[in-house]
Amino acid sequence: MSQPRLNVSRRDFARLSAAGVLSGVSVPWFETLAQAASIRRPRGKNCILLWMDGGPSQQHTFDPKPGGEFRSAATSVPGIHIVEQLPQLAQCMNDMAILRSMQTQINDHYDAKYYLHTGFRRITGFEHPAIGCIASHQLGTPNDDMPAFVTIDAGYDIRNDGGRLYRSVPAYLGPQHSPLAVNEPSRGLENLRQANSDLDARLEMLAGSEQRFAREYPLPAVSAQQSAFNRAVRLMQSPRARAFNLDAEPASMREAYGSHRFGQSCLLARRLIEAGVSFVEVFHRGWDDHNGAARNMILRAPWLDLAMATLIRDLKQRGMLDDTLIVWMGEFGRTPGDGNGHFSNAWSTMWAGGGINTGLVVGRTSERGRNAGGTVTERPITPPDYIATLCLALGIDIRQEFHAAGSRPMPVADHAAQPIRELLR
């Protein structure tokens, strides 16, 4: 096959071949040929992933223990308690689900980040696509003005760096599913301005020369460069790019999310989802609290509580919460007690909205004893379970296979995955 690889399922592949697409004949996008019954694109669910890089402490957030450093407090759902340092979030519990039994085996930052972003262990010589790229591939609209996957860097607060940052890689899904990166939420896409009035003429000239090159060298790197370039041009000319500009938001709304960069990132994430982006990953760095989780968590609590509670409430009142899954997590939790060390054996993540079952807790950790919270006592959740559930919650079929290099079939989620059924409707 001399054409750049198309990342479609086997069934689509057959249909596309039949339609003449792969022979280079110009035909409209295959959906327009499809019978109503053959439409496969899932319902438009979106996801905002809030990634706390370095590993947030479960006992100082969503799984407090008696005698722990933080007191626990009642939430809006009777019987569910979280720490008292998140008062507004506690009142959003009806729209949240806490997953307390994460059991993920890897205590090393980078390998854990990879595992929790892909559902597969990191191995030499093979790259798995990140969940954001999978969502872009499955939920995004091809050739849309807006990118399907955007990452936002919410920066540092405390420089407790958890090693190298994981960058989402589309791997065999194709370069068009790489995220568009926003480095500073308040500046949006700074370079997204047309500098010269003769841009169109310049682009056409460039296209002419590039076309020949692409024909002679149909390599993945060439199509990667071109897909990134095309995307930038499309976005630059689209009125929808306004979504990247936070100044367009009323001052009261900007204030409601909090002046902290994390809050502004959450607001930007909401604007992007509203404008048609399928997956936004906001990462906030410096959660590797080897010098004690309590003292750092209390400093983070005000902006974390305000931003997340506002995000949930804002999406809800706009009628978007049902279609937008919010996921709060890091690569692992922290040791029971003071939270000084890495801890992958029993830790928590939080999901909200997304049309999943909410107002509940999945799993349980040991309540008493010398090492309370040290073990999972109910429904351990592995990374494959986790990613499979996330895919299903977003409407992605986990039984389908992608084709990695050499036509190697790769499942969306590991075959051993046991999705968390109690979360799914």
């Binding site: 750049p4 596309l16 697409v21 792969l22 022979s23 280079g24 110009s26 035909v27 409209p28 996008w29 959906e31 327009t32 019978q35 109503a36 019954a37 439409i39 496969r40 694109r41 899932p42 319902r43 438009g44 007191r71 407090a73 809006s76 008292e84 340092q85 008062p87 507004q88 506690a90 009142q91 609209t141 050739n143 003005d145 169109d200 682009l203 056409e204 296209a207 002419g208 590039e210 076309q211 071109q226 095309n230 499309r234 000319q237 929808r240 909090g258 404008a275 003292r295 209390i298 400093l299 609590a301 005000p302 509580d305 809800k316 009142q317 706009r318 009628g319 049902d322 409407g395 079929d397």
Partner: protein, 340 residues
């Protein structure tokens, strides 16, 4: 013309560029042309920039998403050619009350998004035939209580969104009487209750943090003068311990020498001397151990006294966080009293 015309098989820049230029220039939608069958209707919908999805993985139900499309009222007639449409998204499109006439005939419809469109009270009467509708989003429209009155006819309605509309609390209450179990968002009564609960929690955490700060401050004040005294005591104890160690080491050496001598000579006098030096070493070692323990205890007291200041500083910093948490929660609660 639309993005749909972009050729899938081609990754060439020219094609994409031409597509985007045309798209950017397109202001008007292609005019409505009747569709002969479902396939034609789907094609037309996609020409408008609409996206058709499967509403659920296990059945044939469809979702039609017109967000960011050029759809107008007349185009909604394409729905007459489609079966099993359960979700329709029209957010921020140019549709008006006239378009709702066509939507009102999609009897399979479960979720309808009309947010930020020009629909009004008058349009709501066209929706009364949607007996399966369970989700209706009217956020950012001009709909008011009169429009809500028509929605009484929707028996399965479970979620209704009226943020930034003209709907009043009494209008909501009246509708909720007619449709038991209907959740209306926002729900000012529930939101206020939750804001109050959040503030109470934040307040109690702040009070606790203040108590803690007072305690550590008191501790720090008391131990500040003590710290200097303890430092002197610590120096003294350290010196005493060092002296005792030296004595113990000397005694140990003497005993070693005497022991060796006794081994060589094997005389009763030598043995006697060895036993005596052993006793002296034991005593010296005991004295050293107790001096060392005393020094360590003083060290701990001193550490505690000098840490008290640091703890007080940290507690002060943490109190600021609890203050912000309380202030934010209070502000939110106050917004309900002001009637925001």
């Amino acid at each position: 013309m639309s993005m749909r015309r972009i050729l899938l098989g081609s990754v060439f820049l020219l094609a994409a560029l031409a597509g985007s230029k045309l798209h950017a220039q397109t202001k008007d939608a292609p005019p409505y042309k009747p569709a002969a069958n479902a396939d034609e209707a789907l094609t037309r919908i996609e020409e408008l920039g609409g996206i058709v999805r499967r509403a659920a993985p296990k059945d044939d139900a469809l979702e039609v998403d017109f967000r960011n499309s050029t759809v107008t009222d007349a185009h909604l007639q394409y729905f007459h050619s489609l079966k099993m449409v359960t979700v329709v998204r029209l957010r921020e499109t140019r549709i008006t009350d006239a378009g709702l006439v066509h939507l009102g005939k999609i009897t399979t419809l479960k979720r309808l998004h009309l947010e930020k469109t020009a629909v009004t009270d008058a349009g709501m009467q066209h929706l009364t035939g949607l007996k399966e509708l369970d989700f209706l989003n009217l956020f950012g429209t001009a709909v008011g209580d009169a429009g809500l009155d028509h929605l009484k006819a929707l028996p399965k309605l479970k979620s209704l969104f009226v943020f930034e509309t003209k709907v009043s609390a009494s209008g909501i209450a009246k509708l909720q009487m007619s449709i038991p179990g209907l959740q209306v968002v926002p729900d000012p009564v529930q939101d206020r209750q939750r804001a109050e609960a959040a503030w109470k929690l934040a307040k109690s955490a702040l009070d606790e943090a203040e108590r803690k700060l007072a305690a550590v401050k008191k501790d720090a004040e008391e131990s500040a003068p003590k710290a200097a005294q303890l430092k002197r005591e610590l120096d003294e104890a350290t010196k005493k311990s060092a002296d005792a160690k030296k004595k113990s080491d000397d005694a140990n050496k003497k005993w070693n020498d005497a022991g060796k001598r006794a081994n060589d000579l094997k005389t009763p006098e030598a043995k006697q001397l060895a036993a005596e030096t052993k006793k002296m070493f034991d005593e010296a070692q005991m004295a050293f151990k107790s001096a060392q323990a005393a020094s360590q205890a003083t060290q701990q007291q001193f550490q505690k006294a000098s840490n008290a200041k640091k703890l007080a500083e940290e507690a002060q910093k943490h109190l600021e966080s609890y203050r912000i948490l309380e202030e934010d929660a209070r502000k939110r609660l106050a917004s309900f009293t002001r009637g925001d």
